[in-house]
Symmetry: C2
Subunit: 343 residues, 2 copies
DNA sequence: ATGAAAGCGCTAACAG
DNA sequence: CTGTTAGCGCTTTCAT
């Protein structure tokens, strides 16, 4: 691969001039400018990103921490992140923590500040302490989907009002006339879906519906399947099921099918997020959509701001921890919910 | 972030010595060794990956080109690639080409050799010419899922016998007694699924089944849905549908449902690949499994070999283009296929 | 066994 | 406008 100095030699100038031309740093004569440009593509020169980053004192990528890219929500988010990152000149490295804090820490230790100039964190089951460490070493961190806008996490974040999401789901079911509703709380491990469930419960309370059955489950189709079966067996009178995420909601639909219940006639099902599969399931899943693309954009731009303001240092001056709030989740009515069948 | 020389100063030695300690390059006294190690964790030193790569004359990551990480097969593959890459000391950058050759080229131009020391290519709709360019510039490229072991692509690759996959699918349907079978060929754009279809047709021919209906479609659930409807409307007597990929097969199941046909009683459906969704659909999809994890491992190790042998140069010496062959695809019978209902 | 020095490819003052 | 110089953080001969 040709280097800057080779190009310089070829054009009969110095490396500095070539660099100036390439970065449009003005102060370059038009004729040399041309000569340099010719040399550049005569040799097929391409800047060495790692070298450039080193010279500029920054790292060449952004890191995206996810628990597992195989969980269908993350690819969609990752795609949005990659687009936003690329628009601002960064490449992104995907770090699968596999829900293991130690793996997450290993990633952070290795790449934060050396390969990545910033870290984006989704629900990857990381210890906050580890995140604070990398932040204190000067690499900005932003949490991508903080669930409680009213309780800042002490780390820069973009917040999504997930309590509202739960509430909207609950209201939708109530408005259809459901009174006997089961709930599946996904994310058994992290407990992070609690807020969504609270919103749902609030909606019921306001409507004067006292009690509902809850079941915790893994945040997977299978987890939802198992939980839904348990729920339905414990109370065959249930007319609707709310799940804190689309995957378990999809599982609930499968469970219904296996129990001979048809959705939405015999059972309504609603989820949260609006992943692609929600649109593609049969029947299509009613859900509360989270603005994924917007969140990714906000996260990347917040991260870039922190990087450019060398947040790590500013932080010591007691700067407030920044938080961006995404637009509100929105109900998307599809085919999995309907009025309860009178029985 | 502390640097090597700071550690050196702290330990009262020179950077060279620290480097030697860290890389176990022998020739270091035990006492200094200890002192260095202490300094390292007193300061919390971590090597600067970009700087190290630069000094070593290599790039710090591997690039994985995919058309879109949102297509459910890729995340699974990406996860496997990441694991293999990490095991051999690399991080991976995901490059979504969005099926646009220009985007792919832009990625290759920017990162090949400067940020990535090797490139892994899935069906990302890249021009081979572009790949040859990056290869000729010294960055090894390997194709991850070459479909025709007997027709080497002129680029290093790991091949999967997809013709056989199609054949196995066809045979399975035939053995169940199906004679009137529709086929959906996904990947309309790249035409890359032709081989799979050929295998299927071969199986029919051998069995003396002359004709079958084919429909081309996008490699998506929706594409399969549309194609299946068209197929079923054109020939309501069809008792089975073969799709060249799981996603369209899943779509075919939806189509069947919407037409009031139950799977597998009224219609059998089979796909190829065995993505996670195939296990999670209702009914679970019968499919021909491709050894994804194995392929990812082979691809990464082949790529590493090429990198270490500086393949780019060797190549000029007319070296044979290497190809690895994965183990054979295997039929996985689930619930979407059965004997045809006599009607 | 350790140190000195050069250099990876690039950028960024500062001179001229 | 262009060149000179230094240096990013690390590795790697080559001396000592």
């Amino acid at each position: 691969m040709p280097t800057l100095s080779e190009v310089a030699r070829h054009a009969g100038v110095t490396p500095a001039t070539v660099s100036n031309v390439l970065r449009n740093r003005g102060r370059v004569g038009e004729t040399t400018r041309q000569r340099v440009l010719e040399a550049v593509d005569a040799l097929g020169y391409r800047p060495h990103l790692a070298a450039r980053a080193l010279a500029e004192g920054r790292a060449p990528t952004l890191a995206l921490m996810v628990s597992s890219i195989a969980n269908p929500f993350y690819p969609e988010f990752a795609l949005a992140v990659e687009r936003a990152a690329r628009a601002s000149g960064n490449f992104v490295i995907i770090c699968n923590t596999n829900d293991d804090p130690a793996t997450g820490r290993a990633y952070l230790d290795q790449i934060a500040g050396t390969l990545s100039e910033g870290v984006l964190v989704t629900n990857a089951n990381l210890h906050f302490a580890d995140l604070h460490v990398t932040e204190s070493r000067g690499t900005p961190v932003v949490l991508c989907m903080w669930e409680r806008p009213n309780e800042p996490p002490g780390l820069p974040c973009v917040a999504v009002d997930f309590r509202l999401a739960g509430e909207l789901a609950g209201k939708h079911l109530l408005e259809l006339g459901h009174r006997r509703i089961g709930a599946i709380v996904g994310s058994k491990v992290s407990g992070i879906h609690a807020t969504r469930y609270e919103g749902f419960v609030d909606a019921l309370r306001v409507a004067g519906v006292r009690k509902n059955r809850v079941k915790h489950a893994a945040d997977t189709i299978h987890g939802g399947y198992t939980a839904a079966r348990a729920l339905l067996e414990a109370d065959p009178q249930l007319t609707a099921i709310f799940a804190t995420n689309d995957l378990p909601a999809l599982g609930a639909m499968h469970a219904a099918a296996d129990l001979g219940l048809s959705v939405p006639t015999d059972l309504s099902v609603i989820g949260i997020t609006d992943i692609q599969l929600a649109r593609e399931s049969r029947p299509a899943l009613t859900t509360v959509a989270v603005p994924t693309v917007e969140v990714a954009g906000l996260a990347v731009s917040l991260l870039r701001e922190l990087i450019e303001s060398s947040y790590g240092h500013a932080r010591r001056g007691k700067t407030k921890v920044p938080m961006r709030i995404s637009s509100a989740p929105k109900l998307v009515v599809r085919a999995s919910t309907d009025v309860p069948r009178s029985r």
